[in-house]
């Protein structure tokens, strides 16, 4: 479903381009759940944002294939309509736009893209109310402006609600677990867990292992300094929890030194 090859991404800082991702290779197949872990600044959120189409980053090398096509050919809205969903780490507040309006506009944009008729108000409300109940959300939140005045937990639930309504092919959850208490974490995790299906791939970007107690991933990747330092099964997350990020960071520092050394060697 998703093939990332040698992806290099930077962000403009003044006149220079600050590299963030420095050669990511990752293959995610339908039906799989991948956890992308890493310390702050390792580039894991950047990866999530770049996949969704954020234009504040610059892709300097590499490519990403999604469903066989070049992902970078598609603007963000086309990616969404083709089934990519990003649950934001910091869901954006939009005063003046009702939550239910966004949900309906998003769903109908997708349905139109697939050549399906728009849902009418009655069918839409029935769909939404079922999902709302599962997320343990108050119906009043539908009529409030998007994320405005929502608690941290409500914002995260709202992201999962959108995901459940939009039924993406590829769901990317950017630190959806951060800032949640244990009850909210469980609701969110159940919501994600129920989305697992043979047709759908899920990428969980997370700092902590605890979300993975509820959603056991097929593969775990650990990012450090813009590269995947290690990949493995669910046991890798547990080992990381035990040994801390310094363990993989140490590897990366050694790798960088070796690389710098070989470049010097080549130039000499």
């Amino acid at each position: 479903m998703l093939e990332i090859s040698n992806l290099h991404v930077g962000i403009e800082a003044g006149k220079t381009l600050q590299p963030i991702l420095r050669g990511i290779d990752l293959v995610v197949k339908a039906g799989e759940v991948h956890a992308v872990m890493g310390p702050n600044g390792s580039g894991k959120s950047t990866l999530a944002q770049v996949l969704a189409g954020r234009d504040s980053y610059t892709v300097t090398a590499g490519d990403v294939r999604y469903l066989g096509g070049n992902l970078f050919d598609l603007p963000p809205e086309e990616r969404a309509r083709e089934g990519i969903f990003l649950a934001f780490q910091y869901p954006v507040e939009i005063p003046g736009v009702a939550n239910i309006y966004l949900l309906k506009a998003a769903l109908n944009a997708q349905r139109m893209h697939r050549g399906e008729p728009e849902l009418d108000a009655v069918d839409f409300l029935a769909l939404i109310k079922g999902q709302l109940k599962r997320m343990g959300m108050d119906e009043a939140l539908l009529y409030r402006p998007v994320n405005q005045g929502f608690s941290g937990g409500e914002k995260k639930r709202n992201e999962i609600l959108q995901m459940a309504v939009l039924e993406p092919r590829l769901a990317i959850l950017d630190e959806t677990d951060s800032g949640l208490d244990i009850d909210a974490l469980k609701v969110v995790a159940d919501g994600v867990q129920s989305m697992r299906s043979p047709e759908r791939a899920i990428i969980l970007v997370t700092h902590y292992q605890r979300l993975l107690d509820y959603i056991v991933p097929d593969q775990v990747h650990v990012l450090s300094q813009g590269r995947i330092a290690r990949s493995g099964g669910p046991e890798l997350a547990l080992e990381l929890e035990r040994r801390g990020y310094a363990w993989v960071d140490g590897d990366q520092v050694a790798a960088s030194r070796a690389e710098a050394g070989s470049q010097r060697g080549a130039g000499a």
Binding site: S56, L86, V92, I94, G96, Q162
Partner: protein
């Protein structure tokens, strides 16, 4: 012939056709106003209050000054104005500045309420108008006000006796039919103590282009009375619109003003509120949306003359294309006006690099025990919000339209009068067609 001479010359010809021509006091007022206009002429960019708004196009307009018979009210059908009607209101319609009884409603009025055309009142009961029309004007310095005072032909008259309540809002609808015509309308609202009414002043065109509306609305609010004045300006985008609202508030009275400006090639609104006695309150809301080469100017002035007055002002602007807008909000707290409470906000959304806003809050405070605040912002659409909407499958253009709608809709949602709010929502959607029906 200069533009000023055009107005002077036409006056000599038309004065015998203006309403109240047999009233010596009115004739004197008109002549004096004309003399004042001859002295000042049109405002120029050198006038502080007109620094950002050039009226050269009005000056050079060469407008006709009396409507032709063939475009008279009788040629407008009720169907033609159907879209402009606000359900549930009492309606007074003016076509090219003249009262159109066939289009107006003739519902019975509550006791103590008089609704009439100003011209008709000048014919049948001029003494009721005498004290209000025959008085020195505070705005006498502005050329357009003088022109209005000289040429005023008709308008709405609303009188509320003490304690009278007009439950149905009064919809005063001005329809432009004739191209290149100047109309000078005057509305007069007199609310005796304890009375209450809501007035919608609405300006629209039925096919007319290049015309010039010069309208003045005087509102006198007695003790503990309450007047709501909602204005919807949806003139032709080829028209010129110069409007003044002057409200004078007595003790404990309240005035609520909303000004929605959407039309006009050049539109200027001056709203002047005098909190002339203790405990008077006013709220001034406004929304201007300008596109293409439209120019929109709001000048407001609130005088806190006596203690314990409250004023709240909130204006928003949306500017796209090469449009230009001016917002000047002046609040004067006089030495005698202790415990005054004034707050003013102006927020602007610039959707294009070629659009421009000049916003200027002006606070003059001569008392020491007061609470005053003001703030003005100019911004663009939030890129984070645009990306969030796009990441949900909404295309970039629709995302921008949705966010623009949300910005403007805040003012529409503050409109308590439901049929007017519905009209505003409809107009807003017309401007932003990418916003789908919720």
């Amino acid at each position: 012939m200069t533009a000023v001479e055009h107005y002077l010359g036409q006056f000599a010809r038309l004065k015998a056709t203006l309403p109240g021509r047999r009233l010596p006091w009115l004739a004197k007022r008109r002549e004096a106003a004309l003399a004042a206009f001859a002295g000042q002429g049109f405002p120029t960019l050198r006038d502080e209050d007109w620094k950002y708004t050039s009226v050269a196009r009005i000056e050079k307009g060469g407008f006709g000054l009396s409507p032709r018979a063939e475009t008279a009210a009788s040629t407008v059908s009720a169907d033609a104005i159907e879209a402009l009607v606000l359900p549930g209101t009492q309606r007074l319609v003016f076509v090219d500045g003249r009262y159109a009884p066939s289009l107006s409603s003739a519902d019975p009025l509550p006791a103590g309420v008089t609704v009439a055309s100003l011209a008709a009142m000048l014919e049948c009961d001029p003494e009721r108008l005498h004290p209000w029309l025959d008085r020195p004007r505070r705005d006498a310095a502005a050329g357009f006000a003088a022109l209005n005072a000289a040429y005023m032909a008709d308008g709405a008259y609303l009188h509320l006796a003490a304690g009278a309540v007009l439950e149905r809002p009064l919809h005063v609808l001005f329809i432009a039919r004739e191209a290149n015509l100047a109309t000078h309308s005057r509305n007069l609202v007199v609310a005796e103590p304890g009375s209450r009414a809501c007035i919608v002043e609405h300006h629209a065109a039925l096919g007319a282009t290049g015309y010039f509306t010069n309208v003045t609305t005087d509102i006198v609010i007695g003790q503990d009375a309450m007047i709501e004045h909602y204005k919807l300006q949806e003139e032709s985008t080829t028209a010129f619109h110069i409007a003044a609202v002057n409200a004078d508030l007595a003790q404990g009275s309240r005035f609520a003003s909303s000004s929605f400006a959407l039309g006009g090639a050049l539109a200027r609104a001056d709203i002047t509120v005098g909190l002339n006695a203790e405990g008077a309150e006013c709220t001034l809301d406004g929304l201007y949306m300008a596109d293409g080469h439209q120019h929109m100017d709001h000048h407001t002035r609130i005088d806190h003359a006596r203690p314990r007055g409250t004023s709240r002002e909130f204006y928003k602007g949306v500017l796209s294309g090469a449009a230009r807008a001016v917002f000047n909000g002046k609040v004067v707290v006089h030495a005698d006006a202790q415990k005054s409470d004034a707050a003013q906000t102006n927020r602007n959304l610039l959707l294009s690099d070629h659009a421009e806003i000049d916003t200027k809050p002006q606070l003059e405070i001569w008392a020491d025990d007061v609470k005053c605040s003001h703030g003005a912002t100019v911004g663009q659409l939030d890129t984070e919000q645009i990306f969030y909407l796009r990441s949900r499958g909404i295309d970039a253009q629709a995302a921008r339209a949705i966010l623009t709608y949300a910005f403007a809709a805040e003012m529409v949602e503050r409109m308590p009068l439901a049929p007017l709010r519905a009209r505003l929502e409809w107009l807003l959607r017309g401007r932003l067609p990418q916003v789908v029906q919720p």
